[in-house]
């Protein structure tokens, strides 16, 4: 009968546990990626990309059907176009939102400015054509007072 030391028994148990754990992990990964053709597990915004958009290394060795190859190309092209369109739409959406926010701010600023501004139409009263209709005596007084204002400055 073989004599087993407690140290060896412990090491064996650890090795068994390690093998079982590795096997369980591999099985789990195979289950997750069973439907995926994406060999690198690349994700987009948290979602795994299912479509294999990469060139197959074994492609050249296979005798491929031209229709199938064409379809594959169209699929890849559609997938990349979809991604580009999504990015573009997102960018447009962000731009539209920031533009709307800017407009809103401008409108509120203008409203505040208008609310605090007193509109004065005095400049319309003192045009040369309207002053021309006044008597010379009145114009003389206005002339003198304006000069006095200038001299006072």
């Amino acid at each position: 009968m073989q004599k087993i030391s407690p140290l060896r028994a412990g090491l064996d148990a650890f090795n068994r546990f390690k093998t079982a754990r590795l096997q369980a992990k591999t099985n789990k990964m195979n289950d997750v990626n069973s439907n995926s053709t994406n060999p690198f597990g690349i994700s987009f915004k948290g979602t795994m990309i299912q479509m294999d958009v990469f060139e197959s290394s074994t492609k050249n060795n296979e005798v491929s059907n031209p229709i199938k190859a064409g379809l594959e190309k169209v699929n890849k092209f559609t997938a990349s176009a979809r991604m580009a369109a999504m990015n573009k739409i997102n960018a447009i959406k962000e731009n539209a939102v920031s533009f709307g926010r800017k407009i809103k701010e401008n409108i509120s600023n203008t409203y505040n400015k208008l609310a605090t501004t007193e509109v004065n139409f005095d400049f319309l009263k003192n045009t040369s054509s309207s002053l021309q209709k006044k008597p010379v005596g009145e114009l003389e007084d206005m002339f003198k007072s304006e000069i006095a204002k200038l001299e006072g400055k």
């Binding site: 003192n126 021309q132 010379v136 114009l139 002339f143 200038l150």
Partner: protein, 120 residues
């Protein structure tokens, strides 16, 4: 810097049909210590293009073309040269040259008259 209102008052006096406006421009405008006001008043008097207003800017010492400020004098001369009808201005200049005014005034009038002749 002359205000817009003052500018409009001087312009209105220049275009006014009342002959008393010439007196106001002469008494208040051309005697003002501010160069810019004298310049505008001289311009308004010349644009009136009547004998009384032109005599003020041509025959008087320290006013219009005889102003001590070069810019006022040059503006007045420029305005005289820009007149469409120069007959009245020429008459006043001739009268000034043949009058017994101060030599400086006669010399200035003669120079302006020469410029007027060349500018036609």
């Amino acid at each position: 810097m002359v205000s817009r209102k003052l500018n409009n008052i001087i312009e209105a006096l220049g275009k006014h049909t009342d002959s008393d406006s010439v007196r106001v421009l002469n008494e208040v405008g051309t005697n003002c210590p501010i160069d810019e006001v004298r310049e505008l008043a001289a311009k308004a008097l010349i644009r009136k293009n009547v004998k009384e207003s032109l005599e003020i800017v041509i025959k008087n010492k320290g006013k219009g073309i005889n102003d001590l400020s070069a810019s006022v004098a040059m503006t007045a001369i420029n305005e005289l040269l820009a007149l469409k009808d120069k007959n009245c201005a020429n008459t006043v200049l001739d009268e000034t040259i043949n009058s017994e005014c101060e030599k400086e005034i006669i010399d200035t009038a003669r120079s302006v008259k020469a410029l007027m002749t060349f500018s036609i």
